[in-house]
């Protein structure tokens, strides 16, 4: 069979960069395959896909060496329009690629551009919308849609041409866990067509493996590091070496001392057949005694006392929220978009005030305090660092809050230096803010909040847009702030890995109500809570069921073992 995509000794260098981003790519992808292109940020995986859809070299200029043919056409001699007839691309930012003012219009966008008459367009739009299950939303405007729905529209939008190759650029980046699963299933359904080739670019391996893929191409440093089946890749040590998080159940198997050889269907927990030896090892590991997780007995720092909130005095956005957070705790605030978690965070910061009930900080009602005064004790770090950075130089950004408060130059200098050192940014203090990476920007925003020496740090989706390596960096840094300075940390997040690894308790919102405030292991083992909050059962939970163990103690055992490992690292 002829490959539909064929790279031969292919290389690419961006015009603005001094060294190439891709080297020696030799790769054949055949029609009907479903391929995962895996790699950390900067591994070249997005560049590779932009070469296929023609954004390279037609929108991003640069130098191509070697050859790349897509559906028999040499890309550099083709054009982005020519290629778009064969290749459909669903971009990462589902909001930005929504260019129409209604669902129907966005799906029709490509048809409009090829001057299709409206009489042909309308039925085709309907057909493509039903392909992704959006037929009942044709007239909806983008502002009413969730991230997952926008993504479905984007998928329907690339079907205007009968594309043979579909590229998904980080399809899971902006979705909550349950929508992520829906997206993975939808992609899998599209892959059922034998003629259609699917490429998924992701670094969230476990989430993509929710449905099988044929091949995984692992990228690292602009080269193809591995091209193998998922099972073989999981058995290898390549994932760790290239900054990819392995599935949790694989980690658990490793902790239990299992050998990864000799298990069939390793890449899918449901179909996995453990060797009898491994099954015993896992059962012994999860039922052995462990050090129970310590409980925080400090004095309360945040108290929500039967708090309700409504914007218009009629419909309650939050009703009767009641919880306590103790000093030095790390808390995960969980719930799908619109469940009330950001409203709760806004209440805590004083941006909006409760319609009923009382919020106490360190035992005192915050009602009489101004936003500025609360801001000295509670720091809120937004999801997108670009929305927070206002100064040109890192040092000035970090000193801004102090400067506003009219502190002396001496004090600003000292505090800024201290914070920059704590945040590992001291060497970069004179760098322009534009020159640093997204992850570093995130760190600068945290540093600029730390300058006020807050008691509480609220981080909104700290891991969004980050790969595993930069995720680990940020989490180590935040955990160090927690341990060394006793700062209470609240993570607003969808990421269950984050909750398991970095928090003690989870507060879960659904439909404006608090549905759970409990230890992370109990929350994750509670099926009802998981379903109501649109979370996803972690693979640990499913592993426990498979082994007929109690999920709660299984998860707790896992967390406690990780804590021991980490403790060990610190002692070293």
């Amino acid at each position: 069979m002829e490959p539909i995509i064929s790279f031969k000794n292919f290389g690419f260098k961006y015009k603005t960069q001094s060294s190439p981003t891709l080297f020696d790519i030799n790769l054949d992808i055949y029609p009907g395959q479903k391929v995962l292109i895996l790699g950390a940020s900067g591994s070249g995986k997005s560049t590779l896909c932009n070469c296929i859809n023609g954004l390279i070299p037609f929108s991003f200029e640069g130098e191509i060496t070697g050859s790349l043919t897509v559906a028999g056409k040499e890309t550099k001699k083709s054009s982005i329009f020519e290629l778009s007839k064969d290749v459909g691309t669903v971009l990462q930012d589902s909001d930005a690629q929504f260019v129409g003012l209604s669902v129907g219009e966005d799906i029709a966008f490509a048809m409009e551009n090829i001057c299709m008459p409206r009489s042909e367009m309308a039925p085709l739009v309907m057909k493509n919308a039903s392909l992704v299950g959006m037929q009942d939303f044709i007239d909806h405007v983008p502002f009413e849609l969730s991230g997952g729905q926008k993504q479905k529209v984007a998928i329907a939008g690339v079907f205007a041409n009968d594309v043979r190759v579909l590229i998904f650029d980080e399809p899971l980046a902006a979705l909550d866990p349950q929508m992520g699963m829906t997206a993975v299933s939808l992609i899998d359904d599209l892959a059922k067509d034998d003629e259609r080739t699917i490429l998924i670019i992701e670094h969230r391996l476990e989430d993509v493996l929710y449905r099988p893929v044929d091949r995984i191409i692992l990228m690292g440093g602009g080269r193809i590091v591995a091209d193998m089946t998922p099972d073989d890749l999981l058995k290898s040590t390549l994932l760790k070496e290239h900054g990819i998080r392995e599935p949790l159940y694989i980690t658990a198997m490793k902790y239990a001392g299992c050998s990864l050889e000799g298990n069939r269907n390793l890449c899918s927990l449901e179909d996995l057949e453990f060797s009898p030896e491994n099954e015993n090892k896992l059962k012994t590991f999860f039922t052995s005694d462990y050090k129970p997780l310590p409980e925080n007995q400090n004095e309360p720092i945040i108290e929500f006392d039967h708090v309700s909130f409504s914007y218009d005095g009629k419909q309650k956005v939050l009703s009767d929220i009641d919880f306590t957070i103790r000093k030095g705790e790390r808390i995960a605030i969980i719930g799908k978009n619109g469940a009330g978690k950001s409203t709760a965070a806004k209440l805590l910061c004083g941006l909006i005030r409760p319609s009923e009930g009382e919020i106490r900080l360190g035992g005192k009602d915050i009602h009489p305090l101004t936003v500025k005064e609360i801001g000295e004790r509670v720091s809120y770090v937004m999801q997108n660092p670009n929305q927070m950075l206002v100064k040109d130089i890192i040092k000035d950004e970090v000193g801004l809050a102090l400067q506003i408060r009219g502190r002396s130059a001496e004090e600003i200098k000292n505090t800024t230096e201290k914070v920059l050192k704590a945040c590992n940014l001291f060497k970069m203090r004179n760098w322009p803010v534009d020159a640093i990476s997204y992850g570093q920007k995130k760190r600068v925003t945290v540093a600029s909040m730390m300058a006020l020496e807050p008691e509480i740090l609220v981080l909104d989706e700290p891991t969004a847009g980050q790969d595993f390596r930069s995720y680990t960096d940020i989490m180590n840094f935040v955990n160090a702030l927690n341990q060394e300075y006793g700062i209470t940390i609240l993570f607003i997040t969808h990421d269950m890995h984050l909750a398991i690894e970095n928090t003690e308790r989870a507060i879960v919102f659904a439909d404006g109500q608090l549905i759970a405030a409990d230890r992370v292991c109990s929350v994750l083992a509670n099926e009802q809570v998981i379903a109501r909050a649109s979370l996803k059962q972690t693979s640990l939970y499913r592993l426990a069921l498979k082994l007929q163990l109690d999920p709660e103690s299984t998860i707790e055992r896992f967390i406690s073992y990780e804590a021991e490992l980490k403790g060990g690292e610190i002692d070293e």
Binding site: S59, G100, C115
Partner: protein
Amino acid sequence: MNNRFVINYTPGPTFLHQLSGFTKVFLFIVVTVAIIATYDVRILWPLCIISIAEIVSMKPNWKPIIFMFLFTFFTVTIIGNIMLFVVSPDAGLNNVGTETILWTSASGRFYISKEWLWYIYVVWVKRTASFASVMAFALMTTPSEFASGLNKCGLPYKVCTIISLAYRTIPDIANDFVDIRNSMMMRGVELGKKAPLGKRLKNHVTLLVPLIMSSFGKVGNIANAMDLRGYGKNKKRTWYAEHEPTKYDRIVRGITIALGIATIVYILWARIIDPWPAKIWAPFVDKSAIQQISLEESFFLFRWLKGLFNK
């Protein structure tokens, strides 16, 4: 989200809403031209009443409309007329052509004439008609219909896309702005009502940096998304938002054409064939009484100052 800026993103259910984008844009252009071209209440009143009837037929949310109407009434009409009274009490003479003085101040500096009152009345009708026609158009048209209708009227499609993209991003930018503002307030930047006005304005300017930075990131993504779906390949494009003309579209287009012809005929008749000697027609003025005034004489302040000087 609908009606937040009196923008409709989805077409409503009423007769006018269901017309095609081109019909709406065409009607709007003809009505606007007619209003701009005439100072004759015999034309302005019907146009104004048609526009108001259009608004009523769409059963809109009246609150923002009345608010905007009262706002323009107080700022433009009332303040404007007080200024006019001070600066040019002779606007009646200049525009209507005669002067019947009803009241004069002791010094003779200020006076009110019947023609002056007629003049401000005509201007008010003209302004109300414009307001009603713009409002009717805004209420009946979605941004996409606006873009596709303009394209059909001959505007290049890239310009039309810019218009629809602007509407697409206004709410996003507004949300971004609120987020950025909140984050800055928490850092202690004074943006609230307590801060002095000058400081508040200055601090709001600092918000522009992150607002522009985060918008720039989106621009690149939007451009890529459009390229990947073949935007700009052809000289023309079709529009999903522009549906095929229905029977009602043809009727409304017919009426619009008739209206356009009527306007042209009126202008020919009133300005060229049988010209009225003053700018504004008034029922109580006899054609032969209209004075032709020299430019120098046509400024009341000038005449008044000259009078003072001569004394």
